[in-house]
């Protein structure tokens, strides 16, 4: 199993809310986050976010049904508020795609946090893009601490988000016919197109890094709260 790194002074296990808005597999992400030191709560209602230090939006599939299920559970506004207050967010696969303005897959309007749209992979030799592929970094970030540049992660998708202002947001790219954006970061907003919870030791390390980011943010905000 992975080593539980991070500073020795790390506080109690940070609480991470994993948004549950459908029928997909949440067991893997729950177990992976727990393994690397987080407490996990499955969030089915905005109230479930109240005590959380970090938010993970997982998911596979199409954008329109996902947006309508989020809306039904009143989670759209809650997620937008979360991101606008710059609290740690990790979008996985569809959870990254939803950050853009809309999806070409079904024309769905999505969260619109990042300028740009989700579109079908161009010149892909096979679709869906299923399997392990290399994640090449465009810049360094704590999310990839301890992970080799070009490490393999597990992908399963046909669409990917293309940020309009790509220079600042793009963290990593992956090639399947042509390069596409496979990781983004803007402040505490993070997103990966691959599935770290299904990507062996490197995937666990990435989630461990996210948990450390969440713990650091929680420690900083409790310091602010105490001094206020």
């Amino acid at each position: 199993m992975t080593s539980l790194g991070g500073p020795a002074t790390q506080p109690a296990r940070p609480l991470i809310a994993v948004v549950d808005y459908g029928a997909g597999n949440l067991v893997s992400i729950d177990q992976a986050l727990t393994t690397v030191g987080a407490e996990v709560v499955l969030a089915r209602h905005p109230d479930d976010l109240a005590a959380a230090d970090g938010l993970v939006v997982p998911g596979v599939g199409a954008a329109a049904p996902a947006m309508s299920r989020l809306a039904k559970r009143e989670l759209v506004t809650a997620i937008l508020d979360w991101i606008r207050t710059d609290r740690p967010y990790l979008g996985i696969c569809l959870g990254l795609q939803l950050l853009f303005e809309r999806s070409d897959e079904d024309g769905a309007e999505t969260l619109g946090i990042l300028a740009g749209r989700t579109s079908r992979l161009v010149d892909a030799p096979t679709l869906p893009h299923i399997g392990w592929n290399q994640v090449a970094r465009r810049r360094e970030h704590r999310l990839f601490d301890g992970i080799a540049d070009g490490a393999d992660f597990y992908f399963v998708h046909s669409y990917a988000g293309a940020p309009a202002d790509d220079g600042d947001t793009v963290l990593a790219e992956t090639d399947h016919g042509r390069p596409f954006v496979s990781a983004v970061a803007r402040g505490a907003l993070l997103g990966v197109q691959f599935h770290p919870e299904r990507s062996g030791a490197d995937g666990l390390r990435l989630l461990e890094n996210f948990v450390a980011i969440v713990a650091a943010a929680a420690a900083a905000s409790s310091t602010v709260a105490r001094s206020a």
Binding site: A23, G24, N25, L26, V27, S28, Q31, A32, V60, G61, A62, P125, T126, L127, P128, H129, I130, G131, W132, N133, Q134, D152, Y154, V156, H157, S158, D175, H176, H195, E197, R198, S199, G200, A201, G203, L204
Partner: protein
């Protein structure tokens, strides 16, 4: 660059890994999560559970096994065998599977594939095609294969390549192609069958049936144009390790994910 996947397949009956010949003389081989974790550690890129539990009322055992596996092996898991409805597929995904493989049920009702794909996304829907060679063609005609179901016992009259194309149009995100002629014979994959299907579809094709050694995996990808390769007994019996197979593929210039020895 996308890696070619090497996928061990585990037969699961009543919550235990079993092995036997064509569903008879089953021998208990252990706890599925434990074996799954071992394979993941040894470099498996994905795992397939084929549920061969005879009694439908014992399906709950499978869901428990899927969940315990998902909590121990952090690689993707596909579950095949016995899923006949959107609700059953939902239960298997909720238990911790990433994909479900449909076989007989897809032949009986092809609309099941579209319903599952629209509910869960096509990436979660694998269709397994079991194919048998038709009698050798007359000169000038192409070899064809027929889709068979129920472990090869029942012919369907469907042409395998036509069926592949149709089922992809309906929403299959991946095809698991098994040669019934080669399955269990250790005589190599049917690369012509694989080629006849991979040349007709744009989704990934997983080769299955007949693996004897690392050279067969290379042939399935190079000659059969398969994207991924699945095998059962050569891994279970430790005839070859996943690392052996991947080393041979890498030597042949095929991109694979190499996992450092634990």
């Amino acid at each position: 660059m996308l890696r070619h996947r090497v996928i061990p397949c585990l037969d699961v009956a009543d919550g235990r890994v079993v092995k036997g010949t064509k569903f008879v003389d089953l021998v208990d081989e252990g706890d599925p999560p434990e074996l799954a974790e071992r394979y993941a550690r040894e470099g498996a890129d994905e795992l397939v559970f084929l549920d061969i539990t005879a009694a439908p009322e014992r399906r709950g055992t499978l869901l428990d096994v899927v969940e315990r596996t998902a909590r121990r092996a952090f690689v993707p898991l596909t579950v095949g065998g016995g899923v006949r409805s959107v609700v059953e597929m939902r239960d298997v995904l909720r238990a911790g599977a990433d994909k479900v493989s449909l076989n007989t049920a897809a032949v009986a009702d092809p609309s099941l594939v579209s319903r599952c794909a629209s509910r869960f996304g096509r990436q979660a829907v694998v269709v397994a095609i079991d194919a048998r060679r038709r009698p050798p063609p007359s000169p000038g005609e192409e070899q064809t294969w027929e889709v068979v179901v129920k472990g090869g016992r029942e012919p369907t009259g469907l042409d395998a390549a036509d069926w592949a194309e149709r089922i992809v149009d309906l929403g299959a995100g991946e095809l698991l192609v098994t040669s019934i002629d080669r399955d269990g014979t250790a005589s190599g994959f049917d690369t012509e069958l694989l080629r006849s299907i991979s040349s007709r579809v744009g989704v990934p094709v997983i080769a299955s049936g007949g693996a004897a050694g690392p050279a067969d995996f290379v042939a399935a990808v190079r000659d059969g144009r398969a994207d991924a390769v699945l095998a059962a007994s050569i891994f279970h019996r430790r005839i070859h390790s996943i690392a052996d197979v991947k080393a041979a593929m890498a030597d042949a210039g095929l991109p694979v994910r190499l996992v450092p020895a634990a």
